[in-house]
Amino acid sequence: MNRSLRPLLATALIFLFAYLLAVLQHPNMLSTRVLGNFLTDNAFLGIAAVGMTFVILSGGIDLSVGAVIGFTTVLVAVLIMWLNLHPILAFAIALIVATAFGAIMGAAIHYLRVPSFIVTLAGMFLARGGASVLSPDSIGIEHPFFTAVQKSYILLPGGGRLTVVGIIMLVVFAVAILLAHRTRFGSNVYALGGSETSAALMGVPVARTTISIYALSGFLAGLAGVVFSLYTSAGYSLNALGVELDAIAAVVIGGTLLTGGYGFVAGTFIGVMLQGLVQTYIVFDGTLSSWWTKIVVGVLLFMFIVLQRLVFRAGPRRT
């Protein structure tokens, strides 16, 4: 079996097993209602984690996604509430800004030859700082369009609601799976993660690909910000604090190797759902406190990092 599938399979099994245990304790968790909430509540994390997947596959890391989400919510709120733009126009502007922001970071990483974590760290400071310079206080968003979007959903059999933000996340995952596994861009991303030297010798446009990867991550963080603003109806510079860590955790738990080159976008989906499951379980349980989420996610992260070490340490060879 392809060894990069093993961590993914492990994630899937752990998810099914955990879900089964959760359902045995709380039969209510087996319903489309819970499923719908799952998708809605984790939509912004899922979308951001997709961008993070591409970055990590290419051998980098993007610490700025949480800050970009926060910045986007503030920018959207400012454009709608202070400048009276239509939300769709505001979204478009915010997405362009976030994409350009990511592209600039990608360019800096490539041309300055600096580790991605330090460039995106600067990006994180800049985005959080920029957001609070725009508005230090939370801005509530009130607009008929927002209300309309928030009230729209597809009714699932069993009473569950597939909301607009949930649909956006599913579409993002579907498109991203095609992008990663079925396009030349996707191949180039994996190539960079495998070996940048080889990739360059094999004709991968390293500069263009690196910039595109961080632009994509910026775009998706922006989209996650848009979704976050729809989800909370507010723009606040401290929104989505630490989401980059959750996104990294989702990607790793989803079976992507943190050093790049191996992994699947679909795995990230399971990673996000596993985190959502932990949260939902804690809510259902009622006696457990929310900080257990962090601890459980940390333990899962640790397990998967060790698992990957073991799987990738010694590769079997055929002749």
Partner: protein
């Protein structure tokens, strides 16, 4: 000299390349003909790799010109060279270990349908392509799951597909076994028959005679000869490479067993997975040379002795006392020193000063709390720099600014500073210039005369002969012969390596 039918594909005329004040290449001519395998030979530092980098576009020449099919070209980078039809396969396969074989063949030019990569088509085309190379493998499996030989053939297939005029093989056989080499050569012969111009770099002479039609020999940045191989024999080639008939003097009588002292170290039944158990003793004032091809297990033996790799069994005695060596720190504590083969990766601390590089092993041996003070450091570094003639403007400059030969001497100084009982040298003269080369050989002889026990691995036979009291010959991860006294001669060693019937006396 050249057959009238030869059609030049890639020509280099009067190539000059200068690094700093060093002329790496001095007006070198080189011609690769269609349907010919052209071997490029030379000792380390002769300018082979510089010439190859110019031919493939990795370096730009400081003088001279490149012609492809008679037209002058100038190459920006290897990718640009690839576009002109010049493909290269490197010793360490420059493909993507994490992607499928098929994707490695088609990356950058995948056939698409509706903007999406057409995987079925890629897999089918990849299978078809590889079958022409006699490979029937699962093209969807990761490249890293296959042996280096298979990866090498995949790399050739890709290079030929993309380029198709000139194929440069840069030491492709270094990590292959005998059968794999033959398999690779079959592929190369097929390509030759198809009219490709093939440039083959290796340091295995037998492979040159096996595969190549023509040979160009470089020495010290100049072309010595370019001839059809059927007019030459091995001795001619070696003579041209070395530039003298006998490279080093050998005084068998002076090295006779009687002059050596007590047994210094003894290895009894030491073994590890993939390496057969061996017994070996090294005496005071004795150099045990190790001869064998790359991959014969010679470096593995050295690593095992020094505890870089853990042993699965066996015993090590130093001056008759058993010692435990499971890591290099324990080896150093037992008084062992090891100059590794890859100086840059395993040897020098590039950013640290010459002085720190010399005292580091002694400091590691002394432990964290017994710091050598600055005067001691200066004194030590000065003493060994003088003894080994290390040429550095001052000892506070980073060691990475020194030449390869001086770096090697720094590492040697590092081990002499711990007052070693036993010194292991793995290819001590690799990649250093001729002058330093001779000095290192002289130093080894001097250390032996001073009573040190040495274990020296080298692929240069004349060198082994010049300093060894005994020579251990390795083949297929086993010590197959031991030559002593008068029996130590290049021919005898070659026969032992090759395993020919006139087995060396032991």
């Amino acid at each position: 000299m050249s057959e009238p039918a030869a059609r030049p594909v890639l020509e280099a005329r009067g190539i000059v390349k200068i690094f700093g004040q060093h002329r790496a290449l001095d007006t070198v001519d080189f011609t690769a003909n269609a349907g010919e395998v052209h071997a490029l030979l030379g000792e380390n530092g002769a300018g082979k790799s510089t010439l190859i980098k110019i031919l493939t576009g990795a370096y730009q020449p400081d003088g001279g010109e490149l012609l492809l099919d008679g037209q002058p070209i100038s190459l920006r980078d290897p990718l640009h060279g690839q576009g002109y039809g010049i493909g290269t396969v490197y010793q360490e396969v420059n493909l993507l270990p994490n992607r499928s074989v098929a994707e490695n063949l088609f990356l950058g030019r995948q056939p698409t349908r509706f903007g999406l990569v057409d995987r079925k088509k890629i897999d089918a085309q990849a299978r078809e392509l590889l079958s022409r190379y006699g490979l029937d493998i699962d093209v969807r499996a990761e490249l890293s799951e296959y042996s280096v030989a298979v990866q090498q053939i995949v790399a050739i297939a890709r290079a030929v597909e993309l380029s198709g005029k000139v194929l440069v093989l840069d030491e492709p056989t270094a990590s292959l076994d005998r059968n794999e080499v033959q398999r690779l050569f079959e592929v190369v012969r097929g390509l030759k028959a198809n009219g490709l111009a093939i440039i083959f770099i290796t340091h295995f002479l037998d492979q040159v005679f096996d595969l190549a039609d023509r040979v160009t020999i470089l020495r010290n940045g100049r072309k010595v000869a370019s001839q059809a191989l059927d007019t030459l024999n091995t001795t001619d080639v070696v003579r041209m490479m070395l530039g003298k008939d006998v490279a080093f003097e050998h005084h068998p009588t002076a090295l006779a067993g009687a002059t050596r002292g007590q047994v210094r170290v003894a290895f009894k039944g030491l073994n590890r997975k993939g390496l057969l158990p061996f017994d070996l003793t090294v005496h005071e004032g004795e150099v045990v040379g190790v001869a064998g091809l790359l991959g014969s297990g010679r470096t593995e033996v050295a690593r095992l002795m020094f505890g870089v790799d853990g042993s699965d069994g066996g015993q090590i005695l130093v001056d008759g006392q058993p010692v435990t060596i499971r890591n290099p720190a324990q080896a150093v504590a037992a008084g062992f020193g090891f100059c590794p083969e890859d100086r840059k990766i395993d040897g020098i601390f590039g950013d640290l000063s010459v002085r720190e590089n010399i005292i580091i092993a002694l400091q590691a041996k002394l432990g964290w709390f017994k710091a050598l003070n600055r005067e001691d450091q200066v004194e030590l570094a000065g003493r060994y720099a003088e003894a080994l003639d290390i040429r550095a403007a001052n000892h506070d400059m980073p060691v990475k600014l020194l030449s390869g030969g001086n770096q090697q001497k720094v590492i040697l100084a590092r081990w002499l500073a711990i007052d070693p009982t036993f010194l292991i040298l793995d290819e001590p003269t690799r990649g250093i210039d001729v002058g330093a080369h001779a000095e290192i050989v002289r130093t080894i002889n001097r250390l032996r005369e001073e009573g040190l026990a040495l274990f020296v691995i080298s692929s240069e036979l004349d060198e082994v002969v010049a300093y060894s009291n005994r020579v251990v010959v390795m083949r297929d991860r086993e010590m197959v012969a031991e030559l002593d006294g008068d029996a130590i001669a290049p021919d005898a060693i070659v026969q032992a390596i090759a395993g020919t019937p006139q087995e060396a006396r032991s």
